[in-house]
């Protein structure tokens, strides 16, 4: 009897231990797998977002003149390179370090002591920072001093972007705490880039020959880009990279809303292109390729904030509006305000970034956020918060960038001299030609 009882007890005991051990092992493995999902998801998404640098470079090269192609490439290469080092040194710390009042991070400089999870998050974040930085090069193309651009790159990646990023994405920022929702960065990334671009374009002034006085009236002249195939390639690369940008922003590889994000992203980009094509058709009498390309990007920027919280139908509308908006906005900045933005960066990233941010307050489906969007009967609560965020970030970025560019302009100088501008920045800034051997009308 006793023996039997002991046997039973022992059996049960062994069983207990075994199960426990097995459970422990399994739990460890499951935890590892969870980490592995996030790891490969975020690193692959980061690689895709990195690739967007190529997209920006090609779009900007394509929509400007041949004589500045090498300079644009250098700017795109170096804003990433300098920006990455800056974001490594201080940017990450300002963005994700322990908060000082929800306004700025204060530790983790040089991401010292980072474990694999922090390194993973850093790699995903640095490519976003670089995206914000590189947006500006398009608006400032064809006339900016290379050295000055380098200075700007460091400042935006080290200071401007991370601080407003902290407000929204750090988990402890004041805007995030208010319930401001910007899933993948319509505001955090794109508007920041767009408004810095606006400040830059204003301080720089237009390219020579862009606005000409005819009978006392300044009229806008076209300065056609030199390579539409590359511009189109750039847009396809950006769209491709955007799957990393938006889908990756789930921040987790086991988040099953990834497919929702992918669908809304695709639909908005599509209707963005359609919207811009139709608008350009109506406005100019012909479907304009470079505008349609901008339209796809506008749709993508527009959906970025709300991609996870709006319905597919919602995304169709957001994209369509963005596509229409971008054409009108490009015209407005060019013909009314006479601000020269060669690639439409301000309209695509600034204006459509705000539209996307606001759209969250209109189209958020019930249950996704604390408040549903206005169109789903959630009232104007979310809308108000979104507007507040958009305005705050605008103010922060625009004022700081205006200051920065003005200081650069007064000190090292922001603009190349007019002879160099006419000749092209490739020769004057880099002493080379981008299309050696090709016969090109350089007077254009």
């Amino acid at each position: 009897m006793k023996i039997k009882r002991i046997l039973i007890l022992t059996a049960a005991g062994l069983l207990l231990t075994g199960t426990a051990l097995f459970a422990d092992d399994t739990a460890d493995t499951l935890a590892l797998y969870s980490d592995a999902f996030d790891m490969i998801w975020l690193v692959l998404a980061a690689a895709l977002v990195f690739f967007m640098q190529a997209g920006f470079a090609m779009v900007e090269v394509g929509l400007t003149r041949a004589k500045n192609a090498g300079n644009i490439i250098m700017k795109n290469l170096m804003d990433f390179s300098a920006g990455a080092v800056a974001f490594f040194a201080v940017g990450w710390a300002f963005m994700y370090g322990s908060t000082a009042g929800g306004f700025i991070g204060t530790d983790q400089f040089f991401i010292l002591g980072a474990d694999s999870a922090v390194l993973r998050d850093w790699i995903f974040q640095v490519v976003f920072a670089a995206t914000a930085a590189t947006i500006v090069s398009g608006a400032m193309a064809e006339r900016t001093k290379f050295t000055s651009y380098l200075i700007y790159s460091v400042v935006i990646s080290a200071v401007i972007y991370p601080i407003s990023g902290h407000w929204i994405w750090s988990g402890v920022g004041w805007l995030g705490n208010l319930g401001f929702h910007d899933f993948a960065g319509s505001t955090v990334v794109h508007s920041v880039g767009g408004w810095a671009a606006l400040a830059g374009a204003i301080v720089l002034g237009p390219r020579m020959g862009k606005y000409v006085e005819v009978n006392g009236k300044k009229i806008s002249k076209a300065i056609p880009g030199h390579n539409m195939p590359l511009a189109a390639l750039g847009v396809f690369i950006l769209w491709f990279g955007w799957y990393g940008f938006n889908c990756g922003s789930t921040l987790s590889g086991t988040d099953l809303s990834i497919s929702h994000v992918a669908v809304t992203t695709t639909l908005a980009a599509s209707t963005g292109a359609i919207g811009a094509m139709i608008t350009s058709w109506i406005q100019f009498g012909r479907p304009d390729p470079s505008m349609s390309l901008n339209g796809a990007l506008a749709g993508l920027v527009g959906i970025t904030a709300g991609t996870a919280v709006v319905s597919p139908i919602g995304s169709l509308i957001i994209g369509l509006v963005a596509g229409i908006l971008v054409v009108l906005s490009v015209e407005f900045f060019d013909k009314v305000l006479k601000i020269d933005d060669p690639v439409g960066a301000v309209s695509v990233h600034g204006v459509c970034g705000v539209w996307g941010t606001i759209a969250v307050g209109l189209f958020a489906v019930p249950g996704a956020l604390d408040n549903a969007g206005l169109f789903y009967g959630g009232g104007a609560a979310q809308l108000g918060i979104q507007a507040l965020g958009a305005v705050s970030v605008f103010a922060w970025v625009f004022i700081l960038a205006l200051l920065l560019f003005t200081i650069i302009s007064k000190t090292v100088g922001l603009r190349v001299d007019s002879k160099d501008e006419l000749e092209g920045l490739d020769t004057s800034e880099h002493g080379m030609e981008s299309y050696s051997g090709f016969q090109i009308f350089s007077n254009m």
């Binding site: 076209a222 406005q283 490009v330």
Partner: protein, 113 residues
């Protein structure tokens, strides 16, 4: 010896060449050029801004010939390039004082052909 310089529509080049060949004129030089003549320019637009294109793409043909070949050459060009519409182009004849074949130093009438 004369130099016949013609500015024609790019897409008429093939027809002009055929006509020249028919008249056994095989030597010529062809250059890309932009022209502004009676033909009105047209309007392109780029990103919604109008571009007035008044320098149109043209082909410049230079043909050096001996005097007796001037008429056949001019006629052949006209035959090939004429559509009757503005933009068909123009032919100029200028004098050549000397012509030298680099290969063997031949000069004058024999060198031209």
């Amino acid at each position: 010896m004369k130099l016949i310089t013609a500015f024609i529509q790019p897409h008429m080049l093939n027809d002009v060449k055929q006509e020249l060949y028919k008249n056994e004129i095989y030597k010529m030089s062809v250059t890309n050029t932009l022209g502004c003549g009676q033909q009105m320019g047209y309007h392109e637009s780029y990103r919604g801004v109008d571009i007035e294109v008044n320098l149109l793409k043209k082909i410049r043909l230079d043909i050096a010939v001996n005097e007796d070949f001037v008429k056949p050459t001019v006629d052949a060009i006209i035959e090939g390039a004429r559509t009757g519409e503005i933009g068909d182009g123009k032919i100029f004849v200028t004098p050549i004082e000397e012509c030298i074949r680099i290969r063997n130093g031949e000069t004058g009438r024999v060198a031209i052909g």
